[in-house]
């Protein structure tokens, strides 16, 4: 603890805000390029004779790809800081270079995956490539900026023992893990299969039969991000914001003691209870799908 309590709380709040923005934009970036698990359906669709106009950005899973961009941004920032640049400028330039490299990886995976689906006659649409890739780069720039900024604050202000690239990499992996656990469900479970029956899970028989028509015209990845920005993105942001804030909050207030650990356990318990409340509500709302045999007999 190098700062007084007010200042550390201010820093913590700033980090929480940056993390929230990063989480939100990370999820939207994975939707605009169609990445991670929901992308398995985009990959499967041509095989089911569902040719489509959706980007196929398979830069591995989100944690790894975001780790890539964050660590690249961290390295460039470190180099620029070493050359006595202003921190803000260094972070911006670092994030920009990282986002460009990320965009290059994105183009290779779209081209590579489509070229490997020749037998299903899936065409490679160059207009999709041209206007989706800049959008991916733009989203990733914001994510990378926020993550490297968090890493810079932790390294330079709070004095963490790890370097900027290391901290940026860890936050990149975390934002990817949260983004693919939270926001992707909105894209994969809802947006890709908007034509399924509401209030139940996706029948396995529907796998690969993604929705290909948009509110107007043929659906592309920009339409998907428009939809997911309403819920999936913000929820991811809340997920990462809570993580960054609450993982440091107990130790900031109570110091490095067992009390702080106890408070952490208490926070986790509250989250479990909240999850249970949501579970109860949603189970009552959509109800059981099949009656129990013994109950039926009893009713008769």
């Amino acid at each position: 603890m190098v700062l007084d309590l007010t200042m550390s709380m201010a820093i913590l709040a700033l980090m929480g805000a940056l993390a929230t923005i990063a989480g939100c934009l990370e999820d939207l970036e994975s939707d605009v390029g169609s990445q991670s698990n929901p992308n398995s359906q985009v990959q499967l669709a041509p095989q089911m004779n569902f040719l489509h106009r959706i980007y196929n950005k398979a830069i591995s899973g989100e944690p790894i790809s975001n780790g890539l961009s964050a660590v690249t941004g961290g390295i460039v920032t470190t180099v620029l800081l070493n050359a006595k640049f202003f921190p803000l400028l260094a972070i911006v330039v670092g994030a920009f270079i990282a986002a460009i490299i990320y965009g290059i990886f994105a183009t290779t995976s779209y081209a590579g995956r489509v070229a490997s689906q020749t037998r299903f006659k899936q065409p490679l649409y160059m207009d999709i490539m041209r206007y989706t890739t800049p959008s991916i780069i733009a989203h990733n720039f914001v994510v990378c900026f926020c993550l490297v900024a968090i890493a810079y604050i932790q390294y330079a202000v709070l004095g963490y023992p790890f370097t900027i690239p290391f901290l940026a990499l860890i936050w990149g992996i975390s934002v990817g893990a949260i983004g693919s656990s939270v926001g992707d469900v909105h894209y994969g479970g809802e947006r890709e299969f908007q034509n399924r029956e509401f209030g139940c899970g996706l029948n396995t028989a529907l796998s690969g039969r993604i929705v290909r028509r948009a509110e107007s015209g043929l659906r592309n990845s920009i339409d998907n991000v428009w939809f997911c920005a309403k819920f999936g993105g913000p929820a991811t942001g809340i997920g990462l914001g809570l993580t960054v804030f609450f993982s440091s909050w107990p130790t900031t207030i109570w110091g490095y003691t067992w009390t702080a650990i106890g408070v952490g356990v208490f926070i986790v318990a509250i989250m479990a209870v909240m999850n249970r409340l949501v579970e109860i509500q949603v189970k009552n709302a959509y109800g059981p799908y099949k009656e129990d045999k013994t109950e039926k007999e009893a009713g008769a």
Partner: protein, 261 residues
């Protein structure tokens, strides 16, 4: 798979090992100008590793392609640190000891995966060994390009570990190896396209390493950076040529072609 002639795994393994070791051994000769060779050697190892990932990941691992790249670099980094640190009396032996250690760790994990976890992938042991060895060479090669030498305590710790460049080597190197197969995944995947892509991802990594080398080695880092960008342009272009040749159709825009569905 296809009737097109593929380069055999043994040729690529030899190319990776010999190319990688030559690059690594050339890197400290006339510091700091020869450090670029370390990165070139690492690109050879990336191509080898990408091919090994391709062979094992074709079987479907249950957790996606990226996991194998991660475990490769996890093993690679442990083995590389060990090999370079243990031979303090004769630093020349370092890279070879690392290569052997990585192979042994890879073999053990592959053996356990095959016989204890029972993954039933016939090429598991061989590919795990190859991937771990390639991972170690990638890490040593790129580290040498940043530090100008592969001496663990005198060069690598102050120039690669302290400033966090190691993390970039670790992560971007893993991406360079696992991305080619992941990006070309599909029934009509072709080895030639994948190898061009592997060279291109390796070259991007080299460019990033070049940026880091500007900080540690000064002007000679610019050579690594520029050479990385030039190599990337060449192989990226070649990759796109293959895409134009292989894809069902490359169209500017258009409606979805009619199918039965």
């Amino acid at each position: 798979m296809s009737d097109i002639k593929e380069i055999s795994p043994n040729t690529l393994a030899l190319f990776g090992i010999i190319g990688g070791l030559i690059g690594i051994y050339l890197s400290p000769l006339y510091p700091p100008f020869t450090s670029t060779f370390g990165a070139l050697g690492a690109i050879c190892a990336v191509i080898w590793g990408a091919e090994a990932v391709r062979r094992v990941a074709k079987y479907g691992l249950g957790t996606g392609v990226p996991s194998i790249g991660q475990i490769a670099m996890g093993m690679g980094i442990i083995a590389a640190m060990f090999g370079l640190a243990i031979v303090k009396a004769m630093p020349l032996a370092g890279p070879i000891v690392s290569l052997i250690t990585a192979s042994v760790i890879g073999f053990i994990i592959g053996w356990f995966a095959q016989n204890v976890i029972k993954m039933k992938i016939p090429v598991m042991i061989r590919c795990m060994t190859e991937i771990a060895a390639a991972g170690a060479l990638v890490i040593i090669g790129f580290s040498a390009a940043v530090a100008g030498s592969y001496d663990f305590t005198r060069s690598l710790i102050p120039l690669v570990f302290d400033n966090g460049v190691m993390l970039a080597v670790f992560w971007v190197g893993a991406m360079a190896m696992l991305h080619p197969f992941n990006a070309c995944l599909g029934p009509d995947e072709k080895q030639k396209r994948l190898l061009y892509l592997a060279a291109s991802t390796g070259a991007i990594t080299m460019a990033i390493i070049g940026i880091a080398a500007v900080m540690t080695l000064g002007a000679s880092g610019v050579i690594t950076l520029l050479l990385g960008i030039i190599l990337w342009l060449i192989f990226y272009k070649k990759f796109w040529d293959e895409v134009y040749k292989d894809a069902a159709a490359v169209v500017g825009t258009g409606l979805i072609p009619k199918t039965e569905a």
